[in-house]
Amino acid sequence: MDLASQVRSSLQSQGLPSPTLAWIQNVLPNRNPMPPLPALTATARARLMAADLTNPGVLDASAGVLPPNTTNPGVKETRLSKDVLVQVLDLDNLTKSKWEQVEELEAIARGEQTRGREIVRLPAAGDDGGEEGAYGSSAATQAIATGPNLRGGPPGSEATPRNSTHRLVVQDCKGQKVYALELKRMEKIGVGTLNIGEKILLKKDTVVARGTVLLEPTTCIVLGGKVEAWQKAWIDGRLARLKEAVAADARG
């Protein structure tokens, strides 16, 4: 068996759909000697997670796709007949009003966040913060300012409340889009924790109700990854989209 086929079967054994051999060949490093198989598999997997699945030539024709009636709201309940790998295109926290999210984003843009009643100033880029620390004033701000995707996450996004409900737009390799609703809380789903372009494996028997995929930990696995360009565009445009949606609500 050639190397690409070996990598393919390793990916399959991880429950992933098969990429085409040509795609695998293309992502394998051009080195001699070749790294061991587990390393190559990990490389291929990471590349797959970062890929746009709708690019022809990424997934093999055998890969599962959403059945044609998936988005039909007339169907009360149906189940997927095989595993389908999808990628996240959009994410919405239905538990918070859009305006609340707008206010949070605007506060962050001003360089502030609130914790309870306290307004906390976020460290500006290049803020040395060394001196302030002497009075303990920046201790609180440091805990929050973790991670480079600060602007994407709401305050305290590391702890999305347990009763939060999110709705995603996901897409299969054929480009078919569908809503996915968080039926049971899934830890990895949250603004600031789930990336755009991140891959989710919808396993066989995943419930689809009224044209919406219902997400729950038993049937749906968040695999990770992101498409960098999509993520950036999504974060940059989030405030404007929220505002537009609020305005549309007011008109409607």
Binding site: N163, T165, A209
Partner: protein
Amino acid sequence: MRILCVAEKPSIAKAVSEHLAGGRVQVRNTQNKYIKNYCFDYDFGQGWGNCSVTMTAVLGHLTSTQFPPQYKDWKHPPPDRLFDAPVQTIIAEDKTDVAANIEQQAKYCQGLCIWTDCDREGEHIGHEICEAAKKGNSRLNIRRARFSNIERAHVLNAARNLVALDEKQVNAVSARIELDLRIGYAFTRFLSNNLKPMGEPLTSKVISYGSCQFPTLGFVVDRYFRVKNFKPEPFWSIKVMHKREGIDVHFAWARNRLFDRAAVIILYERCLSAKMAEVTKVQEKPTKKWKPLPLTTVELQKMATRFLRLTGQQAMTAAESLYNKGFISYPRTETDRFDKGMNLQALVQKQTPDNRWGQFAQDLLNGGFSQPRQGRNDDKAHPPIHPITYAAPSVLGEDEKKVYEFVVRRFLACCSEDAKGVATDIDIMYGEEAFHAHGVVVLERNYLDVYVYDKWTGTAQLPKFTVGERFEPFEAIMTDGKTTAPSYLTEADLIALMDANGIGTDATMAEHIQKIQDREYVSTVPRASRPADDGDDGGDPPARGARGGRGSRGGRGGASTTASRVGVMEFIPTKLGVALIEGFDRMNFETSLGKPFLRKEMELKMKAICEGRTTRQAVLNESIGQYRQVYNQSQEKLQVLKAACRQYLFENGVG
């Protein structure tokens, strides 16, 4: 030995003299009509022993810090010179006779004992007294009395356990005074010089700047815009109701509400399809409503504005006067825990004559007493605010009566038991959706009987449910509502914001709030007459407001204090107030004077001086540097501020 004792105000001098002298006091007038010198003998014990004592007082601060006369003109030299101009500390004009009295008396004495209030400001006044006394006698032996109320035994104890004056606190206050002077003058002149020439209504206004005033105003303006800009949004929810044993049981949705109708419809349909609900948890357990924490200044002000129809400042004035008369302990304190050694029952005993709470106090003494909860704050200077002696209503003024009643009820509540009840929680799964019902039955009201400001009403008793039992709910309905705008700030909200953001000290917050009203930066209106033009939310009150669960500080649930409070005043900025804050905000986001950050840093630095972590000079250099930078930026972007004024104050704006 002859000892000079000096209190912060005449009432304290009088009270302390009476306690120390045990009745044999000679009273002499001074040049100042408010101040008397009390002469008597007293045995200080180990330190000074038997002494002949003269006790007198000052009237607050003796000195005033100011710029030399060549800086009198508001335009020349330019205001930013005030950041490094020399400052002079001199005896205030109206206090020369007070200082002269101390200087004169000091000549006859070998020792000086400071009896100013035990807080930072008091420490600084103590220092001023020392300086005045040293002019008369540079070789004085100086001590300080530590006390927090003027009850006899407490005062006698303080006189026998004298300590040294705390120079660190003196330095912190003197740094604060100098910073307030330089920064306040520089920016006030900057604002006046530049804005007044713009024409009416600015020309005739007093436009002042204070490093606490502006952030305080900033909070009001910030909330004003949050109310104005608010966009109501629809939300949907699912409610399940079941009837059993003649009781309607309402189950609330674990998801509370979602801001998408289609999503809720899908979930709702799946509930209905499931038909049967299953009980997953039934829990009956004792529950409590905690009695309040011992009373701090900030809490006193917040409660007074909520329940006593007083402003924070009125409440503090009344409390101050109650303290001066010896009825309550020192009202400026951050401490919310009583020292274990205090004899609280003796204080409870003093309240038994009252016909409103006397019986409750008696019941505490008959076995109902329970040690107060321990808060987390201790300023190491004063105990929580508590009654010292009983004051009959007839001897008190209107405001004093209200504040005294509150202090006593709070104190008795602290010494009482928590209210007790039984809570029942029932969780059900209806299809894939979780719902829960919660019921409370109040069994023992305890502290609630005396603390009329807290409410705890039980719900109906829940009927019996068993885990694993399945039933078909009587009704499941999809409901909808709309979010509503937050309210304008109340004084209690404002105090809480200032407290959380380190603006002012508990002792000065009320003054800053008063100042922004005096300057016509904000106005207050009764909540009921809220103008109808804010937000187009149609007016029908939705199921729940838009505000999420914002954590309340200190963990005490304030949830019971909702609506139904008539006469609560809301703070709304004037056009001038909006223009000033918007003007500075639009100039520079990092260090806008309308934000609390700079001032908060300054307050933390004062604390650092007190704790010996930095020095007065270092703090002066740093803070002046920061504000000078803001000054320069403000000057560069003056057009932005002027544009905001034009927008909000003159015709060519949206107002």
